[in-house]
Symmetry: C2
Subunit: 137 residues, 2 copies
DNA sequence: TTTAGTGCAAATGTTTTGCATCCAG
DNA sequence: CTGGATGCAAAACATTTGCACTAAA
């Protein structure tokens, strides 16, 4: 039902299946390399075009990560959350509490902007990397 | 003094001068196109290498924007702030209040991460674009 | 049948890298 | 003098686009 006006192609089905099955955020390359997509011989450009379109319609959410790659995930599934990225091993972890819920309306008044969304990314060292660095010191 | 271990080259001086004079965040291309840099015939690769190095040493702060471009600014000058980006005209506005000041230590306890920094970007429509869209409706 | 969608290849735009040369320390 | 820094050109990288062809509606 969220696919109003789009053709229900085999490629699009496979893409959405993949997102449902993996349940995590994916880059275009990761999708391209995944067995189901690869065996269907889907073109990378098709993947990008679909990711764009599905993001535009709110089915997926696109996030630009500090490594320069865009990652996509199902919009509904994980609701609203943010990422903690380890600057050493690149591991990612999500957290759900959003520190902006409160600030948003205040900021709108202050700035005159009509705020539609945001992107919050925290950097740091995960527990494992902290230990590793302590061991090597 | 923050340039310990780096050679004080003419190029590096020009770059830092530019940041001091403009006082705002710049992309590599913007720097490359600026008169002072252009007349010095500085190579784009030199700019990138210096931006990397100066960011690594904490002189500059690098931020990856949703348009896919990295912008750099002097770390000290503007202290800690965040951006509001208009999704229509791409205009940017900063705000100083940081909604994470409080959450940070809580999050560290919760996740075991040692948080070293973060990146927060808000999207929306600026006042002008809101009016424009209202007019065209 | 008609129009969105696809595959492929080529182009784009940003950033990185190899290498010979240069210059600050 | 010598290692870091530079300029240039080429490469790498993610992403976008043109175009002829395919297939969903």
């Amino acid at each position: 039902m969220p696919l109003t006006g789009m053709k229900n192609t085999r490629q699009r089905q496979l893409l959405l299946e993949l997102f449902h099955n993996t349940g995590r955020s994916l880059t275009a390359e990761e999708i391209f390399a995944s067995p189901s997509i690869r065996s269907a011989r889907m073109a990378l450009s098709t993947i990008y075009r679909n990711l764009d379109q599905l993001s535009g319609r709110g089915v997926l959410v696109k996030t630009l990560f500090p490594d320069g790659l865009s990652r996509y995930e199902l919009a509904g599934e994980h609701a609203h959350h943010h990422y903690l990225v380890c600057t050493h091993c690149q591991k990612r972890q999500t957290f759900d509490e959003c520190p902006l819920k409160r600030m948003q309306s205040d900021l709108e008044k202050q700035t005159g902007f009509q705020i539609t969304g945001h992107n919050l990314m925290l950097y740091g060292l995960c527990r494992e990397c902290q230990q590793e660095m302590a061991a090597n010191a």
